[in-house]
Each structure stands twice: as C-alpha cells, then as structure tokens.
C-alpha cells in the first residue's frame, strides 16, 4: 500500500464522521473499522489471531501521545509458515491505518514494538497476513485521548534541533543465524499537523516519517509505511537474523522527502564467530 492510499483513506474516514464511538459495543461494530475492512481487505474473512499474533496494549494509557504497543508472533518465521505483513489500525485516530509492516524470512520473528498516539478511546487492531494468504485479527480497546492533536514535544526547540538523529541498537549476545532484537530510534517530531494555533486558528504543518526500511547484509529485514499515529521520536523494536558478518542498515523517509540513514556493523567478534578459519 502506498502513501497516497493512506491519504485517501484519511479523507474517507473524515467523511465518515467521528460519531462512531458512541454506538460501539464490540470490536466488529465500529463504523471506521467496517470502512477500513472493506477498502483494505475487501470481502476477505478475518480469523481470530490467537494462534498467530498477540497484540499487547495498555488498557488505559498514561500519556496518549506515547502509548507503548507490541505485536508478537506466536511462531518463528519459517519457509513453510511465516507472517508477511501486519497492519496496525487505530479506529478512532484521524488516520486509522497507523502502520503497515512487511516481514521476510530474514526477520526471524515477525514481532514489532512501537509507541503510538491515540486521539480518542478506541479499538486498536493488528491484522496479520500469513504466507498462505490467510488473514488474522487481534483487537484491544484502549482508553486514551488527545494524543494526535497534542503539539509534539515537551520541548519544541530541542526537538527541532535534533531532527533526523538516529540510533540503531542490537541486543547483547547476538549469534549468527539466530533471531536477534534490534531497536531503531528516530529523532523526529512526527507532527500530525492537527494541533491548532490559538492565535491564528491555523494548523501546524504536518511533518512525519512515512517509511522505514531495515536491511541486513543488503537483504530486507522489515519495512513499514507509517504516519503520525506513531509517536514523536518514532521507535521500533524488531527481530532480524544476522547470517554471518554484515551491516544493519536503516533508511527513513519523511513526508518532506527528507531521508535519514543509520548503520551498524556486526563483525565476527560481536557475533561470537571464530575469527578467521576458512
């Protein structure tokens, strides 16, 4: 799915109106979800995800602008069975499709952890597509509000000064051939453009990360289309399989076409490999 599609979807949802919340009783009843379902998944059946993924969210978020969230796969990525894609959907956000993550066999595990903004009490959903073409859904209700239209940052000036700074981290004890955890941190306001200026009554200029791509040794580990539902200073934890020495590379592009990159070399010593015998 490309970015224009997400924008079109935003428009669609605005047109649908924000009255869905009051009538909701169960996860299947949300008007926004019905539209997202129809436009993204068509008439496809979605099965309960219990055996495929677990969606981990707080019931009530302390800070609606930084709601920690994790999607965990119930099985490792293997040739005969793996997760290709996960949609993260936040029904009552101005742009409900928060992220679409693509995974490969190089991911090792199709797990992802990030932090999101939540504008109103809402269902949060994760839909997983497995390699056999089946779709699975998990949904949690989260009580949080105001996260999207809050201005970015506790210190706006510091945020501007650090734009585009990135960190890549890999957990200790990495072994060649085994899934390892990596973390990508991006210093970016990820502004929704939904905060209104009290004086001019105009809105801020949206400025947010729209794509993330991670490779190891040139092979795709994970990529994602994202938007301002991801919190300020976007943060992703995911797995990758370091098959021998190589470089972990992350490329991030925002909606102003600014591109940011980060790299991290994993040498034999770091991977616990014998140094030279060949």
């Amino acid at each position: 799915m490309d970015f224009r599609f997400i924008v079109a979807l935003v428009a669609l949802v605005f047109a649908a109106g924000g009255t869905a919340r009051a009538q909701e009783t169960g996860p299947a009843d949300s008007a926004v979800w019905k539209k997202v379902h129809a436009s993204v998944f068509g008439s496809a059946e979605l099965e309960a995800a219990d055996a495929v993924i677990v969606l981990d969210t707080p019931k009530r978020a302390e800070d609606a602008a930084i709601v920690p969230l994790a999607i965990r796969a119930r099985f490792p990525q293997a040739k005969d069975r793996y997760i290709e894609r996960i949609w993260l959907i936040i029904d009552n956000n101005p742009s409900p499709i928060a992220a679409v993550f693509n995974f490969t066999l190089e991911s090792g595990r199709a797990d992802i952890e990030t932090r999101v903004r939540i504008e109103e009490y809402t269902y949060v959903r994760a839909v997983a597509l497995t390699n056999d073409g089946k779709l699975y859904i998990a949904a949690n209700y989260v009580k949080a509000s105001g996260g999207c239209s809050a201005p970015a940052g506790k210190d706006a000036i510091a945020a501007r000064a650090n734009l585009g700074k990135m960190r890549l981290r890999v957990s200790d004890g990495v072994e060649s051939g085994r899934p390892a955890i990596a973390q990508l941190m991006i210093s970016h306001p990820n502004d929704s453009g939904l905060a209104m200026d009290q004086v001019t009554r105009s809105y801020a200029t949206p400025h947010f990360v729209r794509s993330v791509e991670v490779r190891y040794g040139g092979k795709l580990v994970m990529n994602a289309d994202v938007d301002f539902s991801i919190s300020e200073n976007p943060n992703f934890r995911f797995y990758f399989v370091p098959n021998g020495e190589g470089e972990l590379q992350a490329k991030v592009v925002d909606n102003e076409e600014l591109e940011f990159t980060a790299r991290m070399k994993l040498d034999s010593a770091r991977l616990g490999l014998a140094s030279t015998p060949r």
Binding site: G146, P151, K154, M185, S187
Partner: protein, 324 residues
C-alpha cells in the same frame, strides 16, 4: 524588615503559621441561592502568612466539575501601588473568586497577572482579570506553549468540567521573561526568574524580597506526587539551584507551603529515584512497557500517585533512552 532578615528560615516559618488562621476570607455562594445566577465557588479561602502575601490553597485533586478546577495554589502580593496575581486557577470561576478575594483585602489595582507555567489549572482564570487590564507575565516560551496547547486544553476543560468551564479562555502573556526580571509593586519588588525546561518548558518562579517568600509554581509539589511534563534532568538541576535561594517560606504549586529548602526534600527524593530507576531499566534493555511495570516508585507516600506516576515513568523513559 532588617530584624526579620536575621532570623532562621524555620523561625520565619513558625511565625507565618501562627498568623495564617486569623486571616481567612470566605466568599458566600450566590449560585446556590439564586437559580440561573452565574456559577460561583461556594467558598474561597485566602491565607495571609506575611504582610502583603496572600495564598489560596487549591484542592489536592484532579480537575472536576464539583471543584471548578480549583486544584492549584494561587495567590497575590500587595504593594503600595500595585497588586501582582500569581496564577489564576483552572477556570474563569476560580479566577473571579480570586479577584473578589483581592477586592476584599485591598483597593490597590491589579497591574500584573503572572503565570508560573502553561498548565490549565494555573492559567484558565486569567480571563477573570481582563477588566483590570494588567500585564500578563510569563516565561519567554509561554506564548508559544499557550498557542499550541491552548485549543486542546480548552477542549479538554469543556469536556471534563462542562458548564463549570464557562467563560474560561486562553489569555496570552503581554510581557515575557527570558532570564530574570523585576516587578515593582510600590515599596515592594518581585524578582522573576525563567528556568530551562524542568517541570515544563515554561517554568517561572517569583521571589518577594521583603518577606523572603518564594513562589515555585509546579517546580515544587508537596503531598501531591511531582509531575514531569518537561525534562527530568532539567527538573533536578533546577531544584539544586533553587536550594540556594535564601527564602524563608516556599509556596508550592500544589500542597501546603513549608519552610525552605526543607520543603524540597521529598520531591527531590522522588525525582532522583525516578531518574535512577529508569536509567537502570534502560541499561538493562527493558522496553517502555516493561519499565512501566518495573518502576514502582513511592506509591502510598504521595497523593494522586496512580494518576501521575506511570505517566512520569513514560516521560522519563522517552527522555533518557537517548542518553546513552
């Protein structure tokens, strides 16, 4: 005044305590006797711990319709020529009650309304002072913070307080303080100081040189768990520096005024422990979700702990994970 300067902070504090009970003013509710009359606070007490110094203690609670958003400490300082108001409360109704309390005490005009920071419980009474045409004074970043947070704050206020929020409005500063400034009230000078990002990025303290009273806004919480909406390291650094202020008496943003700097100890301990615990969690490669569970803090020792502690952990984590 020369004699007073020689006394210890504790002696001054005790002296203030003796005096405060005799100076309580109470406003009678109009709303409860006349249907359709404008909303008003049932009572609004003001204490007078030192000559010319008046403090209203807000409730230790979240903003709710039945407390009119009266949850922050407010006050005013009376000089020969001018009154300076320090914070105005969470709604227009609270601001108006404060204005009436001033009128009961003195006919001296309100020339200054000072906001100690941008949070709604401290600024939404500003509108009640519009007719006084005062200078609205704040941190150099207050105007920007009000611009970008104001509409959200107002929306939340109307949602949470309903009609108790009526006439509440964002009133922007007309005078900004970049570092320090002095305000002369006529025979009485207030020293204002803006701080680097700490509780928020708009913190400003007020020091009355004559009575040695230090108004800290939300750089000081007493009883109420400290709240972090700025920068944890900056908050702790500001406290270290504030300790050196030769004040006799400290008015916190929340909780009872106490002797200075003893008043600071519990907050400093809470924030210091928050820093240490979150840094340790990050070093141990815990995620934010895991850290929220593992950093227990000092529950039971603080009011409103459940409402704010985990939020503080979130803010601290997001700040400190960039450190190492």
């Amino acid at each position: 005044m020369a004699g007073r300067r020689g006394r210890s902070a504790v002696a001054l504090f005790l002296r203030y305590r003796r005096r405060r009970v005799s100076c309580i003013g109470i406003a009678v509710a109009l709303a409860q006797t006349a249907i359709g009359a404008p909303l008003a606070m049932p009572e609004f007490a003001v204490e007078n711990p030192a000559p010319g110094i008046y403090v209203h203690y807000g409730q230790q609670a979240e903003m709710k319709p039945d407390n009119f958003g009266d949850v922050a400490n407010l006050g005013f300082v009376v000089g020969a020529r001018c009154v300076a108001v320090i914070d105005t409360g969470g709604t227009f109704v609270v601001g108006r009650a404060l204005r009436q309390a001033i009128r009961r005490v003195t006919p001296v005009p309100v020339c200054y309304v000072i906001n100690t920071h941008v949070h709604p419980d401290h600024i939404f009474g500003n509108a009640a002072f519009a007719d006084d045409h005062p200078e609205f004074v704040g941190h150099a970043r207050l105007a920007d913070a009000m611009r970008w947070r104001g509409p959200n704050y107002l929306k939340a206020l109307r949602r949470d307080l309903g009609e108790a929020a009526e006439r509440s409005a964002i009133v922007m500063p007309t005078r900004s303080v970049a570092n320090t400034a002095e305000i002369d009230l006529g025979g009485r000078v207030l020293s204002l100081r803006s701080w680097p990002t700490a509780h928020t990025d708009t913190d400003l303290t007020v020091f009355d040189q004559e009575s040695k009273t230090l108004w800290l806004g939300d750089l000081l919480f007493v009883g109420h768990v400290p709240v972090l909406d700025g920068n944890l390291r900056g908050f702790l650094a500001a406290l270290e520096e504030l300790k050196t202020v030769q004040a006799g008496f400290a008015v916190p943003g929340h909780g009872r005024a106490l002797a200075w700097p003893e008043a600071l100890a519990p907050e400093q301990r809470y924030l210091g422990r928050l820093l240490a615990d979150v840094v340790a969690a990050i070093k141990a490669r815990r995620t934010l979700a895991e850290t929220l569970t593992s950093v227990q803090g000092e529950g039971g020792q603080w009011l409103l702990f459940d409402q704010f502690h985990r939020r503080n952990v979130t803010a601290a984590f997001a700040e400190l994970e960039w450190d190492d």
